[in-house]
């Protein structure tokens, strides 16, 4: 006998009223039911309404949003017509939320113990004398080390992963029956994320929770959820079990979304999903996805498809779901089919580069009262060939962005040389570099919202490098700008737009266009896709690859995402605490023999496949500074040999031509 639904959302439509008094729908006629023991994953691009739906389950709506129709029930309680006090008791009580950025949701001036005690006092029945024991019990349940010591710490003293665990402990304080998770691991490192996923999975099982998990990360969903619902433009387009949706999606959108995820077991670029989702304010006559769909025909554009209930238990909103087999999952072209690194000339050579952020004060300079802390980045020697793409991969704090900033001349190097085009070493500060060199190195930043001046139109943005390096103005300037825009697949009509009038993907294209406007030799890409949706990410990667083929540009591509780096790079360097662990051709680094850190990283990657479990080798401890002597990975290494790792710098072992591993473990055992 099927269990009764614990959280039941029926025909929910939510919207806001625009300035021109138009009613605009954010969610359209959504049904969702979750029973205890179920964890439902809510998937969709940004703006698809997934967070709105999750918060609606708590009876909460962001300012300006209101329910247009529908019902929300939690264990039979009508959440839309409930007394304020009762609702307050439910929220954080039987129904707990774990928000996206827990670092911001913890009160900065309260100790961890006090915060959790407050949750216990408000939402549990345990007597006040047992609060301390309760707090320690909760902290150990979320597998935090040294729970007793932790109660006296402040949130800023914890790492992001630890903060997220504390947030989970607070949510568990009330012994909730349902958990709502809003992107709980976004922004965390791969290894940390994998550990938190395992924790959530176990908690859901042990406590028989009803869980609603919102994420854009299909890998995380695959690990935690047994059911998945895909939202597109505020509508349910596909529901089914995790296996059904993630392995054989019946809706073209879900299909495209899955195809756009770069995967570790594929050597090529993922397939981009073209176009963008409609804005909530646009009027949609037929299927909302029709403009981006390869199966769409005249019917799709004229009438909205109904939500079909299939025999397999899935529901699909598509006229052509039986034709889904026509969409091939194989990418049209393979990036690695013609390797470019034919040119043997060095484009950029870093020799023994080290960077230190610490500036000893006058006192310590005079009296040497303090030891000088180890450099943030040390012993970086890499030679990058013309036309090559070098991937730099590592967790936060691995020094990958610092290396890019040093190459760009924005962070001074402590020692070592940066040599461009086999000439004399470059000055470490950008102000002292000759203009001809400045043009040759350009950067693309992570977040286009931040790297494009919000007050400049696209024309003004592109004019900056064109004026500076080529002295263009008037019609030649405009013509060149249009040509560059067309290269990044944007049209002339974008020239007069402001960044706020562009989508995330379009903004990043403009940022790419600005970098290419200088016609540089080397482009430094700093996490260029991590602020974007997966489908947009695939398109941006595709664009970067095409431009490289056309111009023969050299890329240094920094990312924390191992699959993305694998898809775009020719050679990869794995960094930990500002030191190289392993460097070599992509195929060699991503297969045995591994450096223990590379092994831990690759093992922790969550694949969008419910049958694949991550291998967790190293702890998810976050180290703030590198060790003073020995191997950088000594404190977390699962295969540490002994004191040799603490004292001696690991030797560079060339395990294959061009594939170097810095480790004390003998070559044959790696």
């Amino acid at each position: 006998m099927p269990q009764p639904a614990f959280i039941e959302i029926k025909n929910l439509s939510v919207g806001y009223t625009s300035r021109s008094d138009k009613s605009i729908l954010v969610l359209r006629d959504v049904n969702l039911s979750i029973t205890r023991g179920d964890s439902v994953g809510l998937v969709g691009e940004s703006g698809s309404g997934k967070s709105t739906l999750a918060l609606a389950a708590m009876g909460y709506f962001k300012r300006g949003l209101h329910v247009i129709s529908g019902q929300i029930h939690f264990d039979g309680i009508d959440m839309l017509n409930i007394e304020r006090n009762a609702l307050q008791r439910l929220r954080g009580g039987r129904l707990a939320l774990i928000p996206q950025n827990s670092g911001q949701s913890l009160t900065p001036n309260l100790r961890i113990g006090q915060q959790i005690t407050e949750a216990l006092r408000l939402h549990s029945n345990i007597p006040a004398t047992d609060f301390h024991a309760g707090v320690i019990d909760l902290l150990s349940q979320v597998r935090l080390p040294d729970p007793v010591g932790l109660t006296d710490r402040y949130p800023h003293e914890l790492s992001g992963g630890q903060q997220q665990r504390v947030a989970i402990a607070m949510a568990l304080a009330s012994n909730p029956e349902a958990l709502l998770l809003d992107e709980p691991t976004t922004g965390l490192d791969v290894t940390t994320q994998a550990h938190i996923m395992e924790l959530l999975r176990d908690l859901a099982k042990d406590r028989n929770l009803a869980m609603l998990y919102v994420s854009h990360d299909l890998g995380a969903i695959a690990r935690v959820c047994n059911k998945v619902m895909v939202l597109y433009a505020g509508e349910t387009v596909l529901t089914g079990s995790a296996n059904q949706v993630l392995l054989s999606p019946r809706h073209p959108y879900a299909h495209g979304l899955l195809a756009s995820i770069p995967r570790l077991n594929e050597a090529s670029l993922p397939q981009a999903l073209d176009g963008r989702p409609p804005m909530p304010s646009e009027t949609i006559t037929g299927c909302a996805f029709a403009d981006r769909c390869k199966l769409a025909d005249q019917t799709c554009r004229s009438s909205p498809p109904p939500l079909d209930h299939l025999e397999s238990g899935e529901t699909v909103r598509c006229f052509h779901h039986y034709q889904i087999g026509q969409l091939n999952r194989k990418p049209q072209k393979s990036a690695k089919s013609n390797p470019i690194a034919t040119c043997k000339n060095s484009a950029l050579s870093l020799s023994n580069l080290s960077v230190s952020y610490s500036q000893p004060g006058l006192f310590s300079k005079l009296f040497r009262s303090q030891d000088i802390p180890p450099s943030t980045v040390e012993r970086i020697t890499i030679d990058i060939k013309k036309g090559e793409t070098l991937g730099l991969v590592g967790e936060s704090g691995s020094g990958k962005s610092t290396i890019l900033k040093t190459i760009a001349g924005m962070v001074p190097a402590q020692s070592g040389n940066i040599i461009l085009n086999q000439t004399e070493p470059l000055d470490t500060m950008v102000e002292k570099r000759p203009a001809a060199y400045l043009r040759q190195v350009q950067i693309i930043f992570q977040n286009p919202d931040d790297s494009l001046n919000p007050r400049h139109t696209v024309a003004q943005i592109l004019a900056q490098p064109l004026r500076l390096y080529y002295g263009l103005s008037g019609t030649p300037l405009r013509d060149r700008s249009i040509a560059i825009l067309e290269q990044v697949r944007l049209g002339e009509h974008y020239l007069e737009r402001l960044p706020s009038q562009l989508s995330g993907g379009e903004k990043q294209r403009v940022a790419i266009a600005r970098a290419f406007a200088a016609d540089p030799e080397i482009i430094l890409c700093d996490e260029v896709t991590s602020a974007l949706d997966v489908s947009v990410q695939a398109a941006v990667l595709d664009l970067l690859d095409a431009l490289k083929r056309q111009d023969g540009t050299t890329y240094i591509f920094v990312s924390h995402d191992l699959a993305v780096v694998k898809a775009i790079s020719d050679r990869v360097a794995v960094l930990y605490q500002g030191r190289i662990c392993e460097i070599g051709p992509v195929a060699a680094v991503y297969s045995a023999p591994f450096h223990p850190y590379t092994d831990a990283l690759i093992g922790a990657v969550l694949e969008p496949d419910p049958d694949v479990a991550p291998r967790l080798t190293a702890d998810d401890v976050v180290e703030l500074s590198p060790p003073k002597t020995g191997c950088q990975f000594q404190r977390r290494c699962p295969r540490k040999l002994g004191s040799i790792c603490e004292i001696n710098i690991p030797p560079a072992q060339e395990v294959a031509p061009g594939h170097i591993i810095h480790c004390h473990i003998p070559q044959g055992d790696l």
Binding site: E431, L438, Q446, S451, L452, N453, H456, Q464, Y469, A518
Partner: protein, 294 residues
């Protein structure tokens, strides 16, 4: 959030929607009407004032409002209505010139300090703090006593002292922007400091400066009137609200109309400016009170 960004207009065409937004708010409508009326009066008052502002009539000395002299007469028997109508001319002229100048120099220096940063910025900001810690009236009186009164001294003095707090505001606004990637990108491309100030920083600081300028204007008006009140501003017989309040103060117990009329003139102008500044801040989306949760 989505609402405001969706309706965001282009830089060139931004003036019109911002004006519309200001006028859509009661504070903006009332404020701008008051300011506009005052400017209009300042321009037209010489021709619409019913009497000569300096004509003395001993028979009318301190006479109460009547059908002939609607607001009565002052201690020299001059028509208060005529003098009140014209009493804002000097104040508007001086502050109208000094405010933009103060915002310009203070804004430029503030952005420069923010961009340079480091120790230079620290030291110079302490100098600014030292200046701000002195009572304003003292600083101004020192300069005015040294160089004498008159527009030629008042405008530079007000410009100088009212630019100093603008430095602080512009520097803070610059600090918000300086760490953003587009400034880094401009530095990495090798743009000059002037180009970074002009193209990257100024457009983003401008909103804050405009609102700050509007607020400074009303402060400056008060300062100007205070100086006149103390006898260091406009010299008699030129009509000025501050001076009129000062002159009529002694007779306030039995001839309050001599004080009330200029007070209404001055306060409506200041309220008008403050309401407009408030509406401007909201229209530009930099009103901090709006961002508070719930």
């Amino acid at each position: 959030m989505t609402l405001s960004s969706a309706s965001y207009q282009q830089e060139k065409g931004r003036l019109v929607p911002v004006m519309k937004d200001i006028l859509a708010r009661p504070s903006g409508r009332i404020g701008l009407t008051l300011v506009f009326l005052h400017i209009l009066l300042a321009l037209l008052s010489p021709s619409i004032a019913p009497y000569d502002y300096k004509l003395q009539n001993s028979a009318l000395m301190l006479s109460p409002p009547s059908t002939e002299h609607w607001l009565g007469a002052d201690h020299l028997g001059r028509d208060i209505l005529s003098r009140t109508l014209m009493g804002g001319r000097e104040a508007l002229l001086v502050t109208g010139i000094a405010t933009p100048l103060a915002v310009m120099w203070g804004g430029f220096i503030g952005i420069l300090f923010g961009l340079v940063g480091g120790r230079v910025d620290e030291v110079l900001m302490r100098v600014v703090d030292a200046f701000l810690s002195l009572p304003w009236i003292l600083k101004m009186l020192v300069l005015i006593v040294t160089f004498g009164t008159g527009i030629g001294v008042l405008i530079p003095t007000l410009t100088f002292f009212y630019g100093i707090p603008v430095i602080r505001v512009a520097r803070a606004a610059t600090h918000d922007i300086i760490a953003r990637d587009f400034v880094w990108a401009a530095k990495a491309r090798g743009h000059s400091r002037i180009s970074i100030i002009w193209r990257e920083l100024l457009p983003n600081v401008l909103d804050t400066l405009m609102v700050e300028g509007a607020m400074r204007w009303s402060w400056m008006l008060l300062a100007f009137s205070s100086l006149s009140f103390l006898g260091f501003g406009v010299s008699p017989p030129t009509p000025d609200w501050g001076l009129m309040i000062s002159d009529a103060r002694g007779f306030m117990s039995f001839a309050p109309w001599g004080v009330i009329a200029p007070v209404i003139g001055l306060s409506t102008l200041i309220i008008g400016i403050n309401l407009s500044a408030d509406a401007l801040a909201k229209a530009l989306g930099i009103d901090r009170a709006q961002k508070a949760p719930m």
